[in-house]
C-alpha cells in the first residue's frame, strides 16, 4: 500500500520542485543581462546609490543616444557586420565542401584523415585567432602587409573549422547513400550531386553553421584586438573599450552600448532558436 501512495505524492510535488529549480537557475543565468539593461537605463545619480536600486526609478533613454555618440557606433557596426557576413560565407562554403568529402564520397584514407580533424578541435576552440598560434600567424600576416585589414580574420574561415566539419559530417552521414547512387547511375557527376541533391537536404545544418560562425565573429574580441589596430577598422567589441577612460568607467553608458551589441545576438537566437538547440545537440551525438 505504501508504494503507490508515495509515488502519487511525489508525482504532484515533482513539477513544483522542478519549477523552483528551473526558475532559480534561470534567474541566476539571466541576471547579468537584466543588470546590463537596468544599469543602462539609470541616471548617473541613481547609479551611485547604495544599496543599488533593483530597477531604474527614473528611466534615462538618453543614455543610449549618448553611448552611441561616445564612439563611432555606426561605422563600427558596419565593420562588425562586414566581418560577420564574410565569416558566414566562408564557413558555410568551405565546411560544406570539406564535410561532403568526408561523408558522401568513399575513398581510401578518408576515415584515417578524419582523426586529425577531431584532434585539432581543442586548438581551434577560439577561432580564427587563438593564443597558441597567434604569434606566428601575426608575423606571417604582418610580412604580407595584411595587418589592419580583415583578411587575417576572414581568410581562415574559408579553409574549414574542425568543429563545423564534424557537425556537418554527422548530418550528411544520415542522408541515405542511395540518393547519391541513383544520381550517379543517371550520369550526374560529384559536383552536380553535391549541388542539386545534398545541398538542399543539408540546408538546416548549414544554417546552424552559418549562425554559429556569424555569432562567433560578432563576439570576437581577440582577433580584432590583434589585427585591427587602426581605430577606423574597429569592431563593436573593441569600441566598448572607449568607455574605459583614465577617469574610470561610466557604467550606464558602457552598459547601454553593451546592450546594443548583445541585442542582435539575442534577436537572431530567438528567431532561429530551433536551429541553435538542434545544431548543438547534433554535435553531442
Amino acid at each position: 500500500m505504501e508504494g503507490p501512495i508515495q509515488t502519487k505524492r511525489s508525482a504532484s510535488l515533482q513539477p513544483l520542485l522542478s519549477r523552483i529549480f528551473l526558475i532559480g537557475m534561470s534567474l541566476f543565468y539571466i541576471s547579468p543581462m537584466y543588470w546590463m539593461l537596468v544599469t543602462a537605463l539609470k541616471s548617473d545619480r541613481e547609479l551611485a546609490n547604495f544599496p543599488p536600486t533593483l530597477w531604474p526609478h527614473e528611466i534615462v533613454w538618453q543614455n543610449f543616444d549618448q553611448a552611441t555618440r561616445t564612439f563611432p557606433f555606426l561605422s563600427y557596426l558596419e565593420n562588425t557586420i562586414f566581418y560577420a557576413a564574410l565569416t558566414v560565407l566562408g564557413s558555410v562554403l568551405s565546411n560544406f565542401v570539406i564535410a561532403y568529402g568526408f561523408s558522401r564520397i568513399k575513398w581510401t584514407g578518408r576515415d584515417l584523415l578524419f582523426y586529425p580533424v577531431i584532434a585539432s578541435i581543442f586548438i581551434f576552440i577560439q577561432f580564427p585567432v587563438n593564443p597558441i598560434t597567434m604569434v606566428p600567424m601575426f608575423s606571417f600576416f604582418a610580412r604580407l602587409g595584411l595587418v589592419n585589414s580583415f583578411l587575417p580574420l576572414i581568410l581562415p574561415t574559408f579553409f574549414g573549422n574542425p568543429f563545423f566539419i564534424f557537425l556537418l559530417r554527422q548530418f550528411m552521414l544520415q542522408i541515405p547513400a542511395d540518393l547519391s547512387e541513383a544520381a550517379r547511375i543517371d550520369g550526374a557527376n560529384e559536383f552536380q550531386i553535391m549541388y542539386r541533391i545534398i545541398l538542399p537536404l543539408a540546408r538546416p545544418a548549414l544554417v546552424v553553421v552559418g549562425l554559429l560562425a556569424g555569432v562567433n565573429a560578432w563576439n570576437d574580441f581577440l582577433g580584432p584586438l590583434i589585427y585591427l589596430q587602426n581605430d577606423k577598422l574597429y569592431t563593436l567589441s573593441l569600441g566598448l573599450t572607449f568607455f574605459k577612460t583614465m577617469h574610470g568607467i561610466q557604467f550606464n553608458l558602457l552598459m547601454a552600448a553593451s546592450c546594443l551589441v548583445v541585442l542582435p545576438v539575442i534577436v537572431v537566437f530567438l528567431f532561429f532558436q530551433r536551429f541553435f538547440i538542434e545544431g548543438i545537440s547534433l554535435g553531442g551525438k
Binding site: 513539477p15 522542478s18 519549477r19 529549480f21 528551473l22 537557475m25 534561470s26 543565468y29 547579468p32 543581462m33 547609479l47 551611485a48 546609490n49 544599496p51 543599488p52 568551405s94 565542401v97 570539406i98 568529402g101 568526408f102 564520397i105 575513398w107 586529425p116 585539432s120 581543442f122 586548438i123 581551434f124 576552440i125 577560439q126 593564443p131 597558441i132 598560434t133 604569434v135 606566428p136 608575423s139 606571417f140 581562415p156 574559408f158 579553409f159 574549414g160 566539419i165 560529384e190 560578432w218 563576439n219 574580441f221 566598448l240 568607467i249 557604467f251 548583445v262 545576438v265 539575442i266 537566437f269 530567438l270 532558436q273 541553435f276 538547440i277 548543438i280 545537440s281 553531442g284 551525438k285
Partner: protein, 283 residues
C-alpha cells in the same frame, strides 16, 4: 576525388595549424621585435623564461584556473542539462534563458561583471551583505580575482549543457524503471545510472575545458588586465603582452610552444585515462 573536396582543409591544416605550431619553436629561438629580421639566439629565450618569476606565476595561475574551472564547468553543465530536461510545460522558455548567456559576447559579460562585482556599488556585494557576509573586493583582492574570472566562464556553460542534455535523453528509461523496482532513490539513480552513462560527454567536456582554460584570455584582459599583483596574469595574457606590448615576439612564441605542449600532454593523458573511467557500453 574525395581529396579534392577536403583540400581546403588540408591547406588550412598546414597553414593555420601545423605552420604556426612548428613556427612557435623556430621563432622561440630568436630575438625578434616584430620589425626587421629575427635574430637566432638558440635556447636563450627558454633560459630567460626559467628565470622569469612572472612566467611561472602565469603558469601556476593558468593551472589554478584549469583545476577550478574544468571540474566546476562539468558540474554546472550537468546541472544545466538536468534543469533543461525537467518535464514541465514551459521548459523551452527556461532552456532559452539558460542558453542565451553562452552566445552573448564574453567581453560584454566581462564588462558587466566589473560592475556587478564592484566592491562599493555592486549588486553582488549588496546581496552578500543581506546574508551578513562582509564586502569583498572581488577584482582587487588576489584571493578572489581568479574566482571572479572562473565565474564569468560559468555563464557560457549553456552550450555544453545542451550537449549533456542530448546525452541525458539517450539514456533508456527502462534503466531507471528497473532501478525504481529495485527501490533505488533519485540519488542512487543519478550515481549509478546517469553519471556513468554521461562519462563520454564528461570526457569531451574535460578535453574542451582544458583547451579553453589554457587559452583563457578575454575576461582577464578586460576585467583585471592581469592584476591585482599579477594574480590573473594567465599564460595567454603573458603571451599577448610580450608579443604585442613589449615587442618580445621571440619570447612570446617560445611560451606559445610550451603552452601547446602542455595542452597536448594534458589532452592525451586524459584521453588515455578514459579507458579506466569512461563507460562506452550503453546498450
Amino acid at each position: 576525388m574525395g581529396l579534392l573536396f577536403i583540400s581546403p582543409w588540408i591547406i588550412g591544416f598546414f597553414l593555420f595549424l601545423l605552420y604556426p605550431v612548428l613556427s612557435n619553436f623556430h621563432l622561440g629561438m630568436t630575438q625578434y621585435s616584430g620589425f626587421g629580421e629575427p635574430e637566432w639566439i638558440g635556447l636563450r629565450n627558454y633560459q630567460q623564461l626559467l628565470k622569469d618569476p612572472l612566467f611561472w606565476t602565469s603558469l601556476s595561475n593558468t593551472f589554478y584556473y584549469v583545476l577550478l574551472a574544468v571540474p566546476l564547468g562539468v558540474a554546472v553543465a550537468i546541472a544545466l542539462a538536468m534543469a533543461m530536461n525537467q518535464k514541465v510545460r514551459e521548459v523551452t522558455l527556461y532552456r532559452a534563458l539558460l542558453y542565451i548567456p553562452s552566445i552573448a559576447p564574453i567581453f560584454a559579460l566581462a564588462m558587466m561583471l566589473i560592475w556587478l562585482l564592484n566592491p562599493r556599488f555592486g549588486l553582488f556585494n549588496y546581496l552578500l551583505g543581506l546574508l551578513h557576509i562582509p564586502a569583498i573586493n572581488w577584482l582587487g583582492d588576489t584571493r578572489w580575482s581568479k574566482l571572479a574570472i572562473v565565474l564569468v566562464a560559468q555563464f557560457g556553460a549553456g552550450n555544453i549543457g545542451l550537449i549533456f542534455l542530448t546525452a541525458l535523453r539517450a539514456i533508456p528509461a527502462r534503466l531507471y524503471d528497473a532501478a525504481s523496482l529495485d527501490g533505488a532513490g533519485p540519488w542512487k539513480k543519478f550515481w549509478y545510472i546517469t553519471l556513468p552513462l554521461l562519462t563520454p560527454t564528461i570526457l569531451y567536456d574535460i578535453i574542451i575545458g582544458i583547451g579553453l582554460g589554457l587559452q583563457v584570455f578575454v575576461p582577464a584582459y578586460i576585467m583585471t588586465d592581469g592584476g591585482p599583483l599579477n594574480s590573473t596574469m594567465f599564460t595567454a595574457l603573458y603571451i599577448y603582452k610580450n608579443a604585442f606590448e613589449y615587442s618580445q615576439v621571440g619570447l612570446a612564441a617560445a611560451v606559445s610552444g610550451i603552452l601547446f605542449i602542455i595542452n597536448v600532454v594534458l589532452a592525451v593523458t586524459i584521453f588515455w585515462s578514459s579507458k579506466y573511467w569512461v563507460n562506452y557500453h550503453l546498450e
